[in-house]
Point group: C2
Chain length 784, copies 2
């Protein structure tokens, strides 16, 4: 776990003072820069030491065969793994005769900071070589939000005390050795030397270019770099290139007070179709635009871009500096993962590490897109357009499985299913309703009719068709969906998972409604009146099991009859359970990895009475071990809704600090985007009580004791709203747009030019005592 004060809790930055090599891999993920197209892990400029070197381009992957000791029909044959592409962030330094390496010599001072408003990673290091030569090194790195293909580094070195010979080597390197492996099935497969060289043009004329292809997936990757060098008169520059390396060497001698300043612009491009010369030209052109903007121009654009983002997305938190930092850190990474997607997926870890092989999951639609929909909606369009682009593959997969409509992959980069364990992959059909849910939420929030017609409708229709093929009416007329896996990965292949059935029902209704709004386009998709009527019928008849004896909803039919997991006999070191117990045992018992029924309480709240919510929440609290990062924020939201505000606050802390405190000990593989989104969800949907849908935006604010004030901004129906919550009341302001109706704790009001302030009532719900499995209680929040 990253111990404070490794990171200082500043409101607009994540700052590390000193350098703990044991935390290097984690900090590389935390300090990763990305714009959704390019991702650079926060590796040290000089390349070594590293936790895991990482340079990623969205959707550049290699294929690998998926082995099965016993094969089965419909098992995916090959998996996709994100590839560590050409590293352009490498800048080595020689001081006199000693390479700058923090493992040698003396590191007098080291500080790194991720600036959430500037969009830069800065570093300052004061170091003496083993022979005593002291230098001050500063660098500022950015991945441009405004120039999609471009990253840049300002690297400066100056001697301290006495003159120094200094050599700086700026490089492009492909096929770096990736040493990190793990027995943990969640860790990424490691691919050795995935890139085949096609072209290496040294920087003799200024620009260095390298073009490679992946061996099996045949994707072409181009990288280029160019430098602006500012040093004493006798500074000498050389360029070399060969094999998988291209190098610009700058040698000089610096007097105290003198400084070598190097700006490195580097650019990337990739394509499955474009030729080597085309890719070559493309990255050179990107560099030309970057040079035209210049370092200062790139920085100014970056800040302007972020100012605009924060104006519509910021959440202010008073009373808890760590949560304040964490929610902004989370929003920043969400933006980084999605700003320049352009019809590519948002992987579970963004472009911050190779965890989960770089795959995208349902996390995107259920945790990430809800935040982006209200804060940076154009990213939601991009992510859902990617889903639309892989619809043909999802339809082919459904056909392979003997189903109609589309069966979206459980995990993928290119759109093909690469989950090799079907009970937790293929069977998790809820991903299709999750995609439909994200479509519906986006359309509700933005009233973007063109998107609904062109992108939303095909997705809604294809997923509705899947549910019709997947379910059937039983003898009592109930529509059943048997043998599927819900969100909780400690159960699988069950009948009538409540989350799945409710989400599917919503999917069917929303598809039928969308068909009514776009009859021509629906006809084009072959939807008949009979078909959409069948969707409504199935939704109306959807079976939602209920345990009358216990007065709670079973997660799936029969769940509440199963033995309760023996929590008392489970040692703390046996979590996460999946690494210490067989699936067989987990699946057959009442033990919940992550919110499942409780997620249904959040996303399909209208299907439950307040009393049912309170009882259900209490029941599942006692069973939920949170071995997944996709749980705490949901538990926070429902805890808040049922009046367990202090418990919600604990869960907020867990969701928000997942990566800054490395709570799951795997931040080294990349940040947990869904959990980072969860900080916003826990604050806004939890303590703000925000719910939206059917054209209505509702709030029910109530703060926990540790938060004295919370203010958030969000976009809805073209308006920019501001809510300022204090313990006693909430003030609503309309920052942009026309007046609209809102709901505060169940009562509608009109918000126009003048702010509206409403008192926050106390929770009307009696507190149902809740407990968690022993040892799995969320940690108390002690705001610093």
């Amino acid at each position: 776990m990253i111990q404070h004060p490794a990171f200082v809790a500043e409101p607009w930055a994540v700052r590390e003072r000193g350098l703990d090599l044991g935390l290097l891999a984690q900090t590389e993920s935390v300090f990763a820069l990305s714009n959704g197209h390019i991702g650079l892990r926060g590796n040290l400029d000089e390349g070594e030491p590293y936790g895991q070197p990482g340079t990623y381009l969205n959707s550049v992957y290699e294929l690998r065969p998926l082995p099965y000791a016993e094969a089965g029909y419909g098992y995916p044959e090959s998996g996709q793994t994100v590839v560590n592409v050409t590293n352009g962030k490498l800048i080595r330094l020689l001081v006199d005769d000693e390479p700058f390496d923090v493992r040698y010599g003396t590191l007098h001072e080291h500080e790194r900071a991720l600036d959430l408003r500037a969009g830069t990673l800065t570093r300052r290091a004061r170091w003496s070589s083993p022979t005593g030569g002291e230098v001050l090194i500063t660098s500022t790195r950015l991945v441009s939000f405004t120039h999609r293909a471009v990253a840049a580094i300002l690297y400066e070195v100056e001697p301290v005390g006495s003159p120094r010979r200094v050599v700086v080597q700026s490089e492009l390197v492909a096929n770096e050795t990736v040493e990190y492996t793990s027995g943990d099935p969640r860790a990424a497969a490691v691919l050795e030397s995935p890139l085949v060289l096609e072209e290496n043009v040294p920087a003799t004329d200024g620009v260095a270019i390298m073009v490679h292809s992946t061996r099996v997936s045949r994707l072409r990757v181009a990288a280029a770099m160019v430098h602006q060098i500012d040093g004493p008169e006798r500074t000498r520059v050389e360029a070399q290139g060969g094999g998988d390396v291209s190098r610009v060497t700058v040698a000089t001698r610096l007097e105290p007070g003198q400084r070598l300043r190097l700006v490195k612009f580097f650019s990337y491009g990739w394509s499955a179709k474009r030729s080597r010369p085309a890719m070559h030209d493309q990255v050179v052109a990107a560099l030309a635009a970057a040079r035209l903007a210049g370092w200062d121009g790139l920085c100014a654009d970056q800040r302007r871009f972020l100012d605009e983002f924060w104006a519509g997305a910021d959440v202010e938190v008073e009373g808890d500096a760590e949560v304040q930092q964490a929610v902004r850190f989370g929003l920043f990474h969400l933006l980084q993962a999605s700003a320049r997607l352009e019809d590519r997926p948002i992987p579970g870890k963004g472009l911050t590490g190779s965890g989960y092989d770089g795959h995208a999951f349902w996390d995107t639609e259920i945790f990430v897109l809800p935040v982006l929909t209200y804060t940076y909606p154009r990213a939601a369009v991009d992510a859902l357009s990617w889903r639309k682009s892989i619809l043909p593959m999802a339809e082919a997969r459904a056909a392979q499985l003997g189903l109609g409509g589309a069966a979206f992959p459980w995990r993928t980069i290119n759109g093909e299913e690469c989950s090799s364990y079907w009970p937790a992959g293929t069977a998790a059909f809820h991903i299709n309703a999750d995609i439909a849910h994200a479509v519906t939420r986006y359309v509700d929030a933005t009233q973007d009719t063109r998107f609904e017609r062109d992108t939303g409708l095909p997705l809604l229709v294809a997923t509705a068709r899947l549910w019709c093929a997947l379910g059937h009416h039983d003898a009592r007329g109930r529509f059943r969906i048997d043998g599927v896996t819900g969100p909780d990965e400690y159960s699988a292949v069950s009948d009538n998972n409540v989350y799945t059935n409710l989400m599917a029902g919503h999917n069917l209704i929303e598809a039928a409604d969308a068909v009514l709004r776009h009859p021509d386009r629906a006809r084009h998709l072959g939807v008949t009146l009979e078909e959409s009527a069948a969707w409504r019928d199935a939704a109306t008849a959807m079976f939602v099991p209920y345990d009358e004896r216990l007065g709670v909803h079973p997660q799936s039919e029969g769940f509440t009859s199963h033995a309760v997991w023996d929590f008392a006999a489970t040692r703390p070191d046996q979590y996460p359970l999946l690494l210490h117990f067989p699936y067989f045992d987990l699946y057959r018992k009442q033990v919940v990895k992550q919110a499942d029924l409780v997620l249904a309480l959040q996303l399909r709240g209208e299907a439950f009475t307040p009393e049912q919510k309170a009882r259900d929440f209490a029941y599942y609290e006692a069973l939920t071990v949170r071995d997944s990062s996709l749980s705490a924020c949901t538990q926070a939201v429902i805890a808040a809704e049922v009046g367990q505000t202090e418990l919600a606050y604990r869960y907020l802390g867990e969701a928000a600090l997942m990566d800054l405190e490395d709570l799951e000990k795997n931040t080294l593989d990349g940040v947990h985007l869904a959990s980072l989104a969860g900080a916003w969800i826990a604050l806004v949907a939890g303590f703000g009580g925000m719910r939206a849908g059917q054209g209505r935006m509702c709030f029910a604010p109530a703060l926990p004791s540790g938060i004295t004030r919370m203010a958030f901004r969000l976009r809805y129906h073209g308006r920019l709203l501001h809510a300022d919550v204090t313990p006693g009341s909430t003030a609503y302001r309309l920052l942009e747009g026309e007046p609209l109706m809102l709901t505060h704790h169940g009562k509608e009001f009109r918000l126009a030019a003048h702010p509206v302030t409403r008192p926050n009532p106390r929770s009307p719900l009696p507190e149902v005592p809740v407990r968690q499995p022993p040892g799995r209680e969320p940690a108390p929040r002690r705001p610093s």
Copy 2:
């Protein structure tokens, strides 16, 4: 399919006239010889052409890693695969300058016959080489039942018409190329060159010896051969050995009327512990004993052994010559698979092929041992002693899974689980009750108290403990067993599988009863009064779900609510379904691969009323596709019980002719021992209505129209019984032992020295109309 008249339906032999190379692999399995220790596929003497070369020693296997694209806790890391050991049956022939190869020249005559009373495979071939030289070759091969380590071949060649130069090469060859592979997951993994040479002593002094070890599993295998050669005076014999080959070459010139006669004795031994010199000596010693007996002695011993077997096991069938042949063929292969086990397992395919990697499954306990228990009980002791010998591994596996008692492997050679797909492996816990069932049946049949105390009790106790750990009492006090897989492999990981629960309940009761009979030994196993009382409690409270609406038992809880498989839309070429549909789809629908609930009707008949049996049988008939060979015989038994005698007769045909007609098209991988046992089961338990247990032996004979008379023998309580069934009546005789009480159609009678004849009543049950899935009806029997 092997078309008749490839095999001639003789009562005591399986004879092939002519040679169809397309059927070579299948006939190699059908003509395989074995004694349970050594197995020789029916490969042609000259080695080529072959379907699959095969020489096996029981429990000689190689290890191979089991790959997982996504690993999981408790997944087996390595698999075991039966190894093709040193081939000692190879005898090549050169006629003038042409090698005898049936693919060249002219085969005037070719006949092979498996003699079920002599225990030999004979062959007669009259062949002209491409240059016209004609010879008559005859060979007789045996694997000795009385000399466990020994096999022998009498090989004779004589010229037809004119003199011939003849060279015979008799060999030992290790690491033969095994070319057969298949995409079918059921086919065996192929291991290349699994044997590492340790010693090769040529036959210079008469005996040739080869010693090898397997590479990873480190098992040492020794083989030896010696010859008796009888030819014209100028016959010359040479011996060579080197690498993986040892060769004795016999050259002679034969005049018409002269004959070269060669008797080859060869022997095998293997050990995980014994040294190379010890193994060397062991196989030489076995040869010495064989030479002492001589060829005629071995043949006489073989016949005596079989005469004794048939005296206690034979089933006579009149009116259906194919079934007559098939039931004897089945009994013969059962004996071959088990006669000389000596604490080794009976694999699913015996030692007749490498199918299923040579693994043993529950088939042994539920299909094979019931037949052996009543016909050759000492083999049942051996097979169950093997289970006892692997009990420590099964206990370790249970502990690994977080359970008590023993969890026997779903598939194994050495006792370690090597099923890599847990929903159809680990989760199929019924294997433990199946083993207990075989123990109980054997003890009931033999009253073998010593076996019960030393072998049965530890098995019953360990399996009872497993069930107690695996189940739990629910709020209504019912004992539930959730999340397990029953016999039907088209369902998995369900709650309260009726077969499993009933078998587990029986296991618990039988364990508690056995503890009462052997209190001292039980105390030694740590069984307390409280523990055995808990077993009885669990058994009494065992939950058996019942669908009141349909009036049938669901195979597992909830099964009857699932969608019925769309049989109408399933094409004939889409069977077996598992090769054309995902497990996901099969598991969630009402479609049954093989008898599951219907097997419970047979094995736990006392738990059902006759009316329930009829209704349940009819319900599952409509859902059962018989994509497994472990189904037809069970359906035959229950069809007969519920009065569907003609349907039972069809199922008898399917079970009995599985290999002789290659009904599942995989006899090439080895015979289906369980299905061969099924012929006996369908006849004796089906048309004989035989049920035994709790010290009582009951019959309820009723013949189908195609069988005019059936007589069977079986052993019970030290008696040898004979039942002679005609359409109208049944005559019982006591061939050995003291008088005893029997039951005929529900009425007790005493059988002493005098035969007792009783009329066969008509079935009292109304015929419930039954149908099978379209296209999956069993073929009508048309006895030839």
